[in-house]
């Protein structure tokens, strides 16, 4: 079954969607959208490093994403606003990564594959890494769920309940780095943040509890992966962007439905 590249691609997309769903909810709730972007951009430097030292792309991307995430967490609140800091670090890392790639003579690198992902080239080993990483992320978030939620609501509330919200922030940061590293092959550096944010945001209008929002986001993400790949096959469009397009269309439809139900019958004629 795994011999078919479309099957492997679909499984890879669904795996990333599962990890991105609960994590994406926290990214949305905590307004960390730019944080996901920055970690992902930094990962391109990881790709360059792993090609230089001939280690696995996953390991290189994970290492740089981790360093990036930890640096931002450490530097936050020391002189520069968070978004400034992220802007400096993310784009510098991306630029250094692109420059580093250009020094790699003799190796022909398809940079586009890392910027936009190459889900159709996912191997069995990639699949193992993706599902392993996704399982790790989901397990980590499930384990700390109540604490993460409390820390998201209010820092002092977390301290008063007897745990350190900074540790919870660190757990999210680690989960984010792992997700970025496993998703790089599937949707690429530029679209990872989309897989985090769009399904979670689309789930909001249907959800009545934090848990249901994460589950609905997982369903939306998985559906986007399946439908996006299918349409990429049918219309011969790039796979990663097609997945994101399906998610974005779902977001638009669900937001409209949510808006309609909030505003009641007054707009029913429209």
């Amino acid at each position: 079954m795994l011999d078919d590249f479309m099957t492997r691609a679909t499984l890879a997309g669904v795996g990333v969607a599962f990890a991105a769903a609960p994590l994406g909810c926290f990214v949305v709730w905590r307004r960390m959208a730019y944080f996901g972007d920055a970690t992902a951009h930094a990962a391109i430097l990881g790709v360059a490093l792993s090609l230089t030292f001939q280690m696995s792309i996953f390991a290189g991307a994970l290492a740089v994403a981790l360093v990036m995430a930890l640096t931002v967490t450490l530097l936050a609140g020391r002189g520069y606003a968070m978004d400034t800091l992220l802007g400096v670090l993310a784009h510098s890392a991306l630029a250094f990564g692109l420059v580093a790639v250009s020094f790699l003579s003799g190796v022909r690198i398809d940079l586009m594959a890392y910027l936009f992902g190459d889900i159709l080239a996912v191997s069995r080993a990639d699949l193992a890494v993706i599902w392993g990483g996704a399982a790790l992320v989901v397990a980590l978030i499930a384990w700390r769920w109540s604490q993460l939620l409390t820390a998201t609501l209010n820092e002092e509330l977390a301290y008063a309940s007897g745990f350190d919200p900074k540790r919870e922030q660190l757990i999210l940061t680690l989960a984010l780095a792992v997700t970025v590293a496993v998703a790089i092959k599937v949707v690429g550096v530029l679209l990872i943040a989309a897989m985090l944010i769009i399904p979670a945001a689309a789930a909001r209008s249907l959800a009545r509890s934090p848990e249901s929002m994460a589950l609905i986001a997982a369903v939306i993400g998985a559906f986007s992966a399946v439908a996006g790949l299918r349409s990429a096959y049918v219309f011969d469009t790039p796979a990663g962007p097609s997945i994101v397009c399906v998610a974005a269309i779902l977001f638009a439809c669900l937001s409209f439905i949510g808006w309609r139900s909030r505003h009641g019958a007054r707009f029913i004629l429209f």
Binding site: V28, R30, T152, L153, E156, Y159, A160, S161, R204, P210
Partner: protein, 246 residues
């Protein structure tokens, strides 16, 4: 022993000393209020008590097994986060639904259990926060400007609720407020803070302390007449942490 005793506590943010050798205690069942101008370190003191701020000197000693209920100053729930009152209340407390119902009752907001947090009014929101803090039957309740955003009637009712809570559960209460008249009449003890403890005493004794007047003026009128202070130390402003930091 005291529920909480703060000993020689100093807190610094960067070069800015916000608390300088603060001593205070909270005894079982008493209502203690901290008053002080903006930037006087009230919130820092509360943060140090819950362990959110690490002191540069001194320590906070809590009675072993002390249960703290905390009502934060403001709690912004992002509109993208769907959460019901019940889910919010049971987030860190493993308690039954009946417990939640009882806690909401005693906070004066029954029937809110299934509502979304985002649909609550300001007054309801604060009372749900109070209910959440009470749910685990705390030994001491900490309130940080808990009536912010409530109108005068709302906050008077809120303080009456606090007194009722103390009467019914016997839990000690430490609160910060800038609403001097309302707060002080409900307190057993008032601590006036301005980087250090300026003065301290029961509101049955009249508020004529020069430090207190220096901080809040004399215009606050009759309400302050409840509070008297025995002037026992000289006010040397060279030790004032704000000036010392400059």
């Amino acid at each position: 022993m005291s529920l909480v005793s703060v000993e020689g506590l100093s807190v610094r943010y960067g070069a800015n000393t916000v608390l300088h050798r603060v001593d205070m205690t909270i005894e079982p069942g008493e209502i203690v209020t901290i008053v002080g101008p903006n930037g006087s370190g009230k919130t820092s003191l509360l943060r140090a008590i819950i362990g959110a701020t690490r002191p540069v000197a001194g320590r906070v000693v809590k009675k072993p097994g002390l249960k703290i209920g905390y009502v934060p100053q403001k709690l912004h729930i992002d509109p993208t986060l769907p959460i019901s009152v019940e889910r919010f209340m049971r987030l860190t407390n493993r308690v039954s639904q009946q417990h939640c119902v009882d806690a909401l009752d005693s906070a004066g907001v029954p029937d809110l259990l299934k509502r979304q947090m985002s649909q609550l009014s300001g007054g309801q929101f604060q009372r749900v926060l109070l209910a959440r803090a009470l749910i685990d039957r705390p030994d001491v309740l900490l309130l940080d400007e808990a009536t912010q955003g409530l109108d005068q009637r709302g906050s008077a009712a809120f303080y009456q609720q606090i007194e009722a809570v103390r009467r019914e559960t016997g839990c000690a209460i430490l609160m910060i407020s800038h609403e001097l008249h309302v707060v002080m009449s409900a307190s057993d003890r008032v601590i006036c803070l301005n980087g250090h403890v300026c003065c301290e005493g029961s509101p049955a004794v009249v508020a004529s302390a020069p430090e207190y007047r220096a901080l809040f003026g004399t215009g606050t009128g009759g309400a302050l007449a409840l509070y008297r202070h025995h002037h026992d130390h000289h006010h040397d402003h060279s030790e004032d942490p704000k000036e010392a930091a400059q």
